[in-house]
């Protein structure tokens, strides 16, 4: 029992510092063709014609293919986790600027890229819609018919509809909100917005498909190998076992690489031309592939005169872009937490996801929760200030305590919300005097706290294989994209089997050998795969003990594992294979009220404290300190957990201050690191990361996921700190200096001219 809580370096550390770790980007095979994509230049329209003749004639071009060609190997070439709304290459219509329309294949990627520029497409332009609130009632309909995929247990309720952009309208009802608003002492209502941003892992999406006689191998940068295999097999009408999905390390994921991205196109092309095909996107192309929902959130609270929140109404609109991707699940699973981690008797939530003619939005580190926390923690702070209460005290008074029902009716269990808030306040030295700055530079501080439910119900399986020499291989389809899952899973197996984690080999991301896993996403792996690994290791341990008994080794004696196999098989031979499958219990929410007595297997809790300096002459905000606290249950590897915490918070810092996909008529105008600014060394404040003492009783050895928790509180903590410093409130992300300066000047009664 020494592996839990041990901060050993990542198992693959050496291969990463020597540049020898494998990524799909490194991969090439003989006869491989490179694919380059020709993309739509209009936001919404019917395809009239595609002229590929000049591209075909270019020297070195192998072939040029369009959506019609894809139908020769995939009769219905539409895919997606929630709706089958994504054509592998556009058919009939295009839905956003950047949608793949045609592909050039060539031995030389430069030739393919040049030839793709020679393709011409004619469209009949259709009216487009870009705003998430307008899309609900717009006459511009992005998809003529909605085709639910029916793949996931939690999305089965999606019904086919026509003439609407609404992919999901989730609702929750608890108590009587209108009555409570009428009877309470104060009512507050505010609207908040977030911008469209994206993941930009430094390794862009890459897929390499290798066709066989009656099979297909896809090496790909995916977070969801099991889903990719099933979806590609479905598209081909094949049995799953003819498709093999293999995943090396990922150069970052953050949700960009969930479900099918380039895999279906690579698979179709490889089968069409009967040669290996590699698609490696450029950084610019990531901007046309997947992003994070822009949102509008109207939130209204009723508060009693002693500072109790008695009612909260939430209307959230999610801008899903042109493909639903996993957006409907974001709207539902995240939507039910929209009222925040507070104990409120009366709650109404409407969470609506819509199609628009923007690049698609999916899941990005927090699955929509950071957008919600931005609104409810800004709103909560504004209420406390209006009531003249300390903002931390106001939260403390209203926070959801252990055992109390959350808005869905599910009782909070193993959710250290109070501890996280207390720890943030303590670290911020909240009750002590604070230096408020001098001259034009004003200082302020703020907090934000959020929570997230895990996606449920989902399944994970693992295999632990003990060889006759006693060495152990762990097979898992959890993908290590930097979060340290190989190391953490090895630690869990090692804890059960009483060996050092470093001695265990982890085979990850191979659907030929590792069992089903729903996906490496939503901070679910430590809990779900962790439990599966623990079960598999326990199964192996029990089978080994049974084998020892069978060969006459007395129970409880210290015997060499090799000896068991030697006695049983007469030489070094044989294996012991332990299998574990884990699926937690779940009660689907009532479709009318959203009520459920078991809506999630565990809660993630994260809180942030921020200190800022605001330059009152320019509006520039400098974040000088970020304190990030989370409930990780009992952390498996505390050092890796802390790195996850600070990493997530810095990522969210980018989404708060600088990152923004800028659009002009549906065209992203800043698709590069030159104009889309992610945090670099000069942007990083003093970072403090802390894990509270907690246990997730149902987690493996008390552990749970932590990959997203530090993203929750960052944005509102900064906005709250800005108000604390200079008395102005920013309600839209990102917080640009211009917005702060405009607010300052407006507050002074000398507003800047509108642009």
């Amino acid at each position: 029992m020494t592996e839990m809580g041990r901060s050993l370096p990542r198992l693959e550390a050496r291969s990463k510092v020597t540049g020898r770790a494998d990524y799909v980007h490194n991969m090439r095979v003989p006869g491989m063709l490179h694919a380059k994509i020709f993309r739509s230049t209009i936001a919404h329209g019917r395809i009239l014609s595609i002229d590929t003749s000049a591209a075909r004639e270019m020297e070195g071009v192998h072939s040029v293919l369009t959506g019609e060609d894809i139908t020769r190997v995939m009769a219905k070439p539409y895919f997606g986790p929630a709706f089958h709304d994504q054509a592998i290459l556009a058919l009939e219509k295009v839905h956003f600027i950047g949608e793949p329309v045609a592909v050039v294949l060539a031995d030389d990627p430069h030739v393919a890229a040049e030839a793709a520029k020679l393709i011409l497409a004619d469209y009949e332009e259709l009216e487009a819609v870009f705003d998430e609130v307008e899309a609900v009632t717009s006459k511009a309909i992005v998809h003529d018919e909605l085709k639910p995929a029916g793949t996931f247990a939690d999305l089965k309720h999606l019904a086919g509809r026509r003439n609407t952009n609404v992919t999901l309208d989730y609702q929750l009802r608890r108590g009587d909100v209108e009555k409570a608003f009428a009877e309470c002492d104060h009512v507050f209502e505010h609207t908040f917005r977030t911008q469209q941003v994206l993941h930009v892992p430094l390794e862009s999406h890459a897929s390499l498909a290798i066709p066989g006689h009656d099979s297909l191998v896809i090496h790909t940068s995916t977070q969801t190998p099991s889903f990719v295999r099933t979806e590609i097999a479905r598209l081909l009408g094949w049995a799953d076992n003819r498709v093999s999905v293999q995943v090396p390390f990922l150069g970052g994921g953050f949700g960009a690489k969930v479900y099918v991205k380039m895999e279906a196109l690579a698979a179709a092309l490889a089968l069409l031309v009967k040669r290996p095909v590699k698609i490696a996107l450029t950084m610019e192309e990531q901007f046309y592939t997947i992003s994070k929902h822009a949102t509008t959130f109207r939130i209204k609270s009723g508060v009693s005169k002693d500072g109790r929140i008695v009612a909260r109404a939430c209307d959230v609109w999610w801008n899903g872009g042109a493909y639903a991707d996993i957006g409907p699940r974001v709207a539902q699973k995240t939507g039910f937490t929209a009222a925040g981690p507070y104990d409120i008797e009366n709650v109404r939530i409407e969470s609506t996801e819509v199609y628009t003619n923007r690049p698609p939005a999916g899941a990005l580190r927090g699955f929509g929760v950071p957008q919600l926390v931005w609104a409810y923690e800004s709103h909560t702070d504004m209420i406390a200030r209006a009531l003249g209460m300390d903002t931390v005290e106001f939260r403390r008074k209203n926070i959801l305590r252990e055992g109390r029902p959350q808005a869905t009716g599910t009782a909070m269990r193993d959710a250290a919300i109070d501890k996280v808030l207390d720890c943030v306040a303590e670290r911020m030295n909240w009750t002590a005097p604070f230096d408020r700055g001098a001259g034009a530079i004003k200082r302020g501080r703020g907090v934000g706290i959020g929570f997230k439910a895990s996606i449920s119900p989902t399944t994970s399986g693992a295999i632990v294989n003990i060889s006759a020499d006693g060495s152990i291989v762990l097979y898992t389809n959890t993908i290590d994209m930097g979060q340290g899952s190989d190391t953490g899973m090895a630690q869990l197996a090692a804890e059960v089997l009483n060996v050092p984690a470093e001695s265990i080999k982890v085979v990850h991301g191979n659907t030929d050998v590792a069992p089903y896993d729903m996906g490496t996403l939503g901070s679910r792996s430590t809990f779900h795969m962790g439990n599966a690994v623990k079960l598999a290791a326990e199964d192996a341990k029990a089978k080994l003990a049974a084998l020892a008994a069978e060969v006459g080794l007395p129970e409880g004696t210290n015997y060499d594992v090799k000896e068991i196999f030697r006695k049983r098989y007469g030489m070094q031979a044989g294996n012991v294979v332990g299998v574990g499958t884990y699926v937690p219990r779940y009660t689907p929410p009532d479709p009318k009220t959203g009520q459920s007595d078991n809506v999630t297997p565990f809660w993630m809790i994260g809180g942030t404290g921020a200190e800022v300096e605001v330059d009152t002459e320019t509006g520039h905000v400098r974040v000088i300190r970020l304190v990030n606290v989370a409930d990780a249950g009992k952390p498996i590897n505390p050092k890796i957990c802390r790195t996850q915490l600070s990493g997530g918070a810095i990522m969210q810092l980018g989404f708060t201050l600088t990152e923004d996909m800028v659009f002009d008529g549906g065209q992203v105008t800043n698709p590069s690191f030159a104009d889309y600014k992610i945090p670099g060394f000069r942007d990083v404040p003093v970072m403090e990361s802390e894990l509270v003492t907690a246990t997730q009783e149902t987690g493996p050895f008390g552990a749970k996921g932590i990959g997203e928790s530090s993203t929750f509180g960052v944005s509102p903590a900064i906005a709250n700190a800005i108000e604390d410093a200079v008395g102005v409130r920013i309600t839209e992300l990102p917080i640009r200096p211009e917005a702060v300066l405009r607010a300052l000047r407006a507050a002074e009664g000398r507003p800047l001219e509108a642009v």
Binding site: S7, P9, R10, E12, A13, R14, S15, K16, V17, T18, G19, R20, A21, Y23, H25, N26, E59, G60, D108, H110, V111, E114, H199, V200, P201, L202, E203, S204, F249, L250, G251, G252, G253, F254, T282, M283, E284, M481, G482, Q483, G484, K639, I640, T643, Q644, S646, G647, G648, I650, M651, S672, F673, A674, I678, P679, G680, F681, R682, V684, M687
Partner: protein, 160 residues
Amino acid sequence: MSETRTIRFTLNGRPASAAIQSHHNLVELLHQLGLFGARESCGQGLCGCCTVLVDDVAVSGCLYLALGVNGKSVTTIEHLDESGTLSPVQQAFIEAGAFQCGFCTPGFVLMTHQLLKQNPDPSEDEIRHYLAGNLCRCAAYPEIVEAVRLAARTMKQARA
């Protein structure tokens, strides 16, 4: 497309030659030679994932034409542990846990080597300033600072 040219240069201490096209960049040249530690990410010289040393000076391999290394000496991340032992900087990156996905790590390691060569005892501000041209989306920045300081200490002790 352009014509094929043959270039000769020193690669990680050994003579090398390659047939390349004039539009190929240094990252493509290295990939052609089986070295994948330098990676093209942003493609604009803004992220540092493609860092390579040319005559001991760090360059962005994605913007550096392969032809430009003709007659020069090229050092890549793969050279640092050719003796079988990790460099003090590599060791420090492991001990400090200064990476997550590892895609940007070779660039940071090479830049840190160059920094400590020029300034054996850098302050935190000097470290941040020097490494500002390298991006890490996993944002292991605090741990990278720790790694650079650790490497500086180790190298100082080795010199003493």
